[in-house]
């Protein structure tokens, strides 16, 4: 893993309008900023409805963002405009302004064609049986991506690509002629991985890739994803609600609550020194597969349910369920800032 930032997301916002309701509708992703370095795995956790899947899909522009800016490998793939950027000179260096600070200019709205980026950015979905076309053979499913991006110059080459992909995900080459229903859940997910890898991508959004699988199969898929990453230098955005798996596979973890990123830190740092009260609750809610530890520990149980993202609480979105909430929490949105090196959180109590 090098320090080069592969993907940068700034103040990304995704609202889904609701018919017959005034206002912005469902505020699924609210001002999320993060960056992913080349070769790293960024985990994203949170409860259902917190916007983690929406964030993943909006980054790929499978959902068109409502606002914000997404930079992939130095190229803007979305910009809603109005971001202050340093004004570069011909060599790409920023020009000094009058007061010594770099000159800035406002960015323009841009939304380029995604097809060239689709080759570099792929996704693996949660439910393998729902994300594979039941009427296509596995070979056709994998080959479709190869065709769209014109990666094979001849039929033989196309077949070779499909065969080598199948064996790289641990399936037999004869499986190319079978249909998805002939496979078990774990094998279907391997097909899903092979399809994503068909275009030789650099960045893959893994959207709950193991949640639908049996426990004994989950670790097989996790190990395979790790092997692929090491062999091909892939960068992952790994979305899941199971914090123990996310912690295992990720270099850094972002915790989401009701559309906002509330904490972002290195995996083991987050585990040992969680800052945000929601992260603490989430950690304490995971059942520990160890009877003695389970008996020994005390748990923070949250009151109530997650509020509706159509009408999220003002200020800090967590204040309605937070055991430490103060008056300021319901008035001001806390700033997402760095408390320790590489450890960011959004919480008033930390100040």
């Amino acid at each position: 893993m090098d320090e080069r930032v592969l993907l940068q997301v700034q103040n990304l916002r995704k609202y889904f309008p609701v018919k017959g309701v005034k206002g912005p509708g469902v505020q699924a992703v609210q001002d999320v900023s993060l960056e992913i370095k080349k070769g790293e795995t960024l985990g994203l956790v949170g409860e259902s409805g917190c916007g983690k899947t929406t964030l993943g899909r909006t980054i790929l522009r499978l959902y068109e963002p409502t606002a914000g800016r997404i930079i992939y490998d130095g190229k803007t793939i979305y910009d809603s405009g109005g971001f202050e950027l340093p004004a570069p000179d011909k060599d790409g260096k920023s020009l000094p302004g009058q007061d010594g600070k770099p000159q800035v200019h406002k960015s323009k709205k841009t939304a380029p064609d995604m097809l060239p980026f689709r080759r570099k950015m792929q996704i693996i979905f949660q439910d393998p049986s729902a994300s594979l076309d039941p009427r296509m053979t596995v070979g056709e499913i994998i080959g479709e991506a190869v065709d769209i991006h014109k990666l094979a110059s001849s039929k033989t080459e196309r077949t070779e690509i499909i065969k080598s992909l199948l064996s790289s995900v641990g399936l037999n080459t004869e499986h190319a002629n079978r249909f998805p229903h002939e496979f078990s859940g774990g094998q279907q997910q391997r097909v899903g991985v092979a399809r994503a890898l068909a275009v030789k991508p650099e960045f893959i959004v893994c959207d709950e890739p193991i949640s639908a699988l049996d426990v004994s199969i989950q670790s097989q898929i996790v190990n395979m994803l790790e092997d692929m990453q090491n062999a091909l230098g892939l960068t992952y955005l790994f979305i899941a609600h199971d914090l123990s798996v996310v912690r295992h596979i990720s270099n850094r973890i972002g915790v989401m609550y009701l559309g906002s990123l509330v904490e972002l830190a290195e995996s083991y740092e987050l585990n040992k020194h969680p800052l945000h009260p929601y992260t603490k609750t989430l950690l304490s809610a995971i059942p520990v597969p160890d009877p003695e530890k389970s008996r020994a520990r005390s748990r923070i149980v949250l009151e109530g349910d997650i509020p509706s993202p159509m009408n999220p609480p003002a200020g800090c979105r967590f204040h309605t369920r937070c055991p430490y909430a103060k008056p300021i929490c319901s008035e001001q949105t806390p700033e997402f800032k760095e408390y320790n090196k590489g450890h960011r959180a959004a919480c008033h109590i930390l100040n």
Binding site: I217, V222, I286, V301, L302
Partner: protein, 339 residues
């Protein structure tokens, strides 16, 4: 637990098959266990291991083409399988009740919550007045931690969140004070923070009422948290059984060992590669001869492929069906292999 000598439920060599057009599927292939009053037993297994089918047979809820083809189920000494329809109606809901994985599909969307709770009570207590039934329903809702009960009674299932619906299901299950509650993956569809709430609630209610619970799940973390003892199922058979500590700290079956090893450790300080169980789950239409786990087992021997191993006692109330353990016993070694 001191009240465990009296057996609440005894299941002996239960066999359930589904007669499908493609052939007989032996979903449950001869399982035995017992449960004392106030005990919480976990049944762990992958999808298709027969854990739910087993629970459905106790409740008499098996549907065609499923059929109990052998064995016995006795509840407080009475043979449940011999019950006629009326006896079964009386047994189900009053003595034993069940909560399911998805609370939305188990609640009727066109009746109010209050109506559905009171119905459960009135079915089993013909003499009770509507006002009394309503009062009891409100009492139960309060017990499971639902606020604003008066208003909530008049609401419909869709007006409740997932966690709240599961609370309603628990209230409904407990309204006739059953002695046994069967919980079939009650927290699987819920988020971790809501799962934590429901687990705390079930632990508290179990202490309060002293009922026995059969907790069906695939989540070993949940098992460690709530169960006194555990049965591990694989392909319709219980391959290991014991107290919760024995299962977690002295597992005797390669499948149990493999399951525990394949999960990321919670207290891991740094990255450790996972050790998965290779292979795929059993095709129940064509189960292998011998031990069903043999094709995936790293210690597989010749005999494993031909004969199902007998149970070997590994300690008090701890037994496992594995030829490795049989071999150890024959060699005179009492020691257990923790893998």
């Amino acid at each position: 637990m001191d009240n465990t000598e009296k057996k609440l439920l005894e299941v002996k060599d239960l066999r359930v098959s589904f007669f499908t057009p493609a052939g007989e599927v032996k979903a449950v292939g001869g399982i035995s266990y017992d449960l004392g009053c106030g005990e919480v037993m976990g049944i762990v297994g992958e999808s298709g291991s027969g854990k739910s089918v087993e629970a459905y047979s106790i409740m008499g809820l098996l549907q065609s083409p499923g059929k109990v083809i052998g064995g016995s189920i006795s509840f407080e000494g009475e043979d449940v399988l011999a019950y006629d329809k009326d006896q079964m109606l009386d047994f189900r809901g009053k003595k034993v009740s069940m909560i399911f994985q998805n609370p939305m599909t188990s609640l009727n969307p066109v009746y109010t919550i209050g109506n559905q709770l009171a119905e459960a009570l009135r079915t089993h207590n013909k003499g009770i007045s509507p006002a009394q039934a309503n009062g009891k329903a409100m009492e139960m809702l309060t017990l499971v931690g639902i606020n604003n009960v008066g208003k909530r009674m008049k609401q419909y299932p869709h007006e409740f969140s997932g966690g709240m619906r599961q609370r309603v299901m628990i209230a409904m299950g407990l309204i006739c004070s059953p002695k046994l509650l069967i919980a079939d993956e009650p927290t699987t569809a819920l988020d971790v923070t809501i799962q934590a709430q429901i687990l705390e609630l079930m632990k508290e209610l179990q202490k309060k009422t002293g009922m026995g619970i059969i907790f069906i799940t695939h989540n070993l973390g949940v098992v460690a948290e709530i169960c006194d003892k555990v049965s591990v199922m694989y392909a319709g058979k219980i391959i290991e059984q014991g107290k919760v500590d024995d299962i977690f700290y002295k597992p005797g079956h390669p499948y149990t060992i493999g399951l525990l090893r394949s999960m990321p450790r919670v207290d891991a300080e740094a990255y450790e590669r996972l050790i998965p169980i290779d292979g795929t789950p059993v095709d129940m239409l064509n189960p292998p001869d011998g031990c069903p786990f043999a094709p995936r087992c790293e210690h597989c021997m010749q005999i494993c492929l031909t004969k199902m191993p007998p149970y070997i006692a590994l300690g008090e109330d701890h037994r496992s069906a594995c030829w490795l353990r049989v071999q150890e016993k024959l060699n005179g070694g009492e020691g257990q292999n923790n893998g």
